[in-house]
Symmetry: C2
């Protein structure tokens, strides 16, 4: 039988693209969990309960749970009710993970930045390969110190493909979120790879962050791509070790993390 939702197609409120039904339900459940209606370890209603309650098919409810599970909010095992996996850091990861500004605001801090240098450079082979450039091709480079409510927290050294140089040069790098502004240009970050390691602060970075040389830094090397798979940036983010951590939740079913042996570069 055909779907019964007469309002199946997009609303014309003009606002946002409207979430699919299974996402709406996911957000309601997430809100209920964060609101304390279901505490950590509590059992959630069954799929049949929910499909009746929301007037959707069981398949839709399963989509909802697949989403919440990937987000690390619930666990499930065959035969038993699903359980809540503690609140933990709330998750809206992709955008927040890529944008320092958005993340900072989401944790209640005021983000700011101090630009150290910008310009066209010929990147190292390591970066060139990740940007998909031929050897000798140049890239646009920005180096910034990022501050959390006034405290220097990270040094960010980012390489962009040349085609992004124009919009980037037109921005006030210290005042706006690059990610937000690029989004207005229709440039969207959809996939990212992060390599997370611990390194010692170089003299240069130590001065920028106002710490001692050799202090442990948490460095994330990130490569971000757009919907078509084109590389948008390759960034080296060095965080003051004592200020930031990465948090990962994974289950047998969903695995996006792995441990790798580093080969000296």
């Amino acid at each position: 039988m055909a779907p019964t939702r007469s309002e199946y197609s997009c609303g014309v409120t003009g606002a946002q693209p409207r979430l699919p039904r299974y996402r709406e339900i996911a957000e309601e459940l997430r809100a209920a969990i964060e609101g304390g209606e279901f505490t950590e370890g509590a059992s959630l209603p069954s799929e049949n309960d929910l499909s009746e309650r929301y007037g959707v098919s069981r398949g839709t409810i399963r989509q909802t749970f697949a989403f919440l599970r990937a987000a690390g909010v619930v666990s499930s095992r065959q035969g038993a009710r699903r359980q809540v996996l503690l609140g933990g850091p709330h998750t809206q990861p992709m955008t927040e993970l890529v944008s320092f500004s958005r993340w900072a605001r989401s944790v209640g801090e005021v983000p700011s930045s101090r630009t150290i240098s910008t310009g066209i450079v010929v990147p190292s082979p390591f970066v060139a390969e990740r940007l998909g450039l031929a050897e000798g091709d140049s890239a646009f480079h920005i180096e910034r110190v990022r501050l959390l409510s006034g405290v220097a927290t990270m040094v960010e050294s980012t390489y962009y493909p040349q085609r992004l140089a124009a919009p980037l040069l037109a921005m006030d790098l210290d005042a706006e979120s690059i990610t937000d502004r690029l989004e207005e240009y229709g440039i969207v970050f959809v996939d990212a790879e992060h390599s997370i390691e611990a390194i010692a602060a170089s003299d240069r970075v130590a001065i920028l962050l106002d710490i001692d040389t050799g202090t442990p830094l948490l460095r994330s090397i990130r490569r971000t791509t757009d919907p078509v798979g084109e590389v948008l940036e390759c960034s080296f983010d060095s965080y003051v070790g004592s200020a930031v951590a990465f948090f990962v939740r994974n289950s047998v079913a969903v695995g996006a993390v792995s441990r790798v042996k580093t080969t000296p570069r």
Copy 2:
């Protein structure tokens, strides 16, 4: 209509539980990708192609891709063919992420370990909370140095609930994989949370790892639970920073990683 697979129920070969069809197909596709049949960025066959080729419904193929996508193997966007997201570190993360031994073998190294201490302790409130213990309750503690082909690579300090003390005491900790052995007891690790940060090596850890005090370490605090949600371990793993990194791939759709502000402990 009912499913047409007459062999729908489990085979009786007695071997392993047999993978569901969608996983079998996923492994075939993964093998094709790793075998170079589809290179990075290549387009994959359409869902209709594959459902015909494998003689399954489109829904099953979609399950296959949901799995591969969560594993970070493929990307997808509405309207276009799915693409291969580079080989990267091969993924069988959960088990490998939890077991140092399995991981070491999977990267072609020989794992070994040197036990520093074992015993019943009253853990810190931080650990007690994570193990789900009341204040003052005791836990079983094991501290080991882990070596990769003879090189000290990590110090592992793990707390287990008391009920695991018996099986643990019966093992030869330096010779066997705890994870593997516990699995034989029917104890399975299904969910894990990792907090990843950079710290400086203490005097004690420096001696154990044969490095200088203050050297950057990559520390992962892990909490692992079984299918019912009972905590199985809380572990502090400190890796020599130059030896190991964590690798994460995430997309807008699947987010298991987040960045957190650390509060000094």
